[in-house]
Symmetry: C2
Subunit: 66 residues, 2 copies
């Protein structure tokens, strides 16, 4: 299975696990809709910063308001 | 290996393979930098529309100018 773990960069610049085993990502204007292989979903006001699929890693960062 | 195939939606709304075996994607303002497991890279003026990692599918679409 090729799901990935999604890490959100926090205010200190550290990567924190936001959601594991993510299968589906749908960007929508300033949001990301995430869905994992267990059928759980999350929406977050963020953008994709970088993905390395072979490492199962997706880094996202919060969008500042405005 | 969990690389994915990246499909670009063309002007007719059809998905065409743009790059296979993609490992790394780095969005950068209005562009996407793609790199595959063979070390090849491409940059395209596009955005991610949807990803289903378990299916190894990433759909991107061109950005209209402006």
């Amino acid at each position: 299975m090729c799901e990935a773990n999604v890490y959100l960069i926090n205010d200190e610049g550290e990567e924190r696990l936001f959601m594991d085993s993510v299968d589906k990502i749908v960007p929508d204007s300033n949001k990301l809709h995430l869905e994992n292989i267990f059928g759980q979903s999350k929406t977050v006001r963020a953008r994709i910063k970088e993905m390395t699929l072979v490492d199962h890693r997706i880094i996202i960062e919060k969008l500042v308001d405005g």
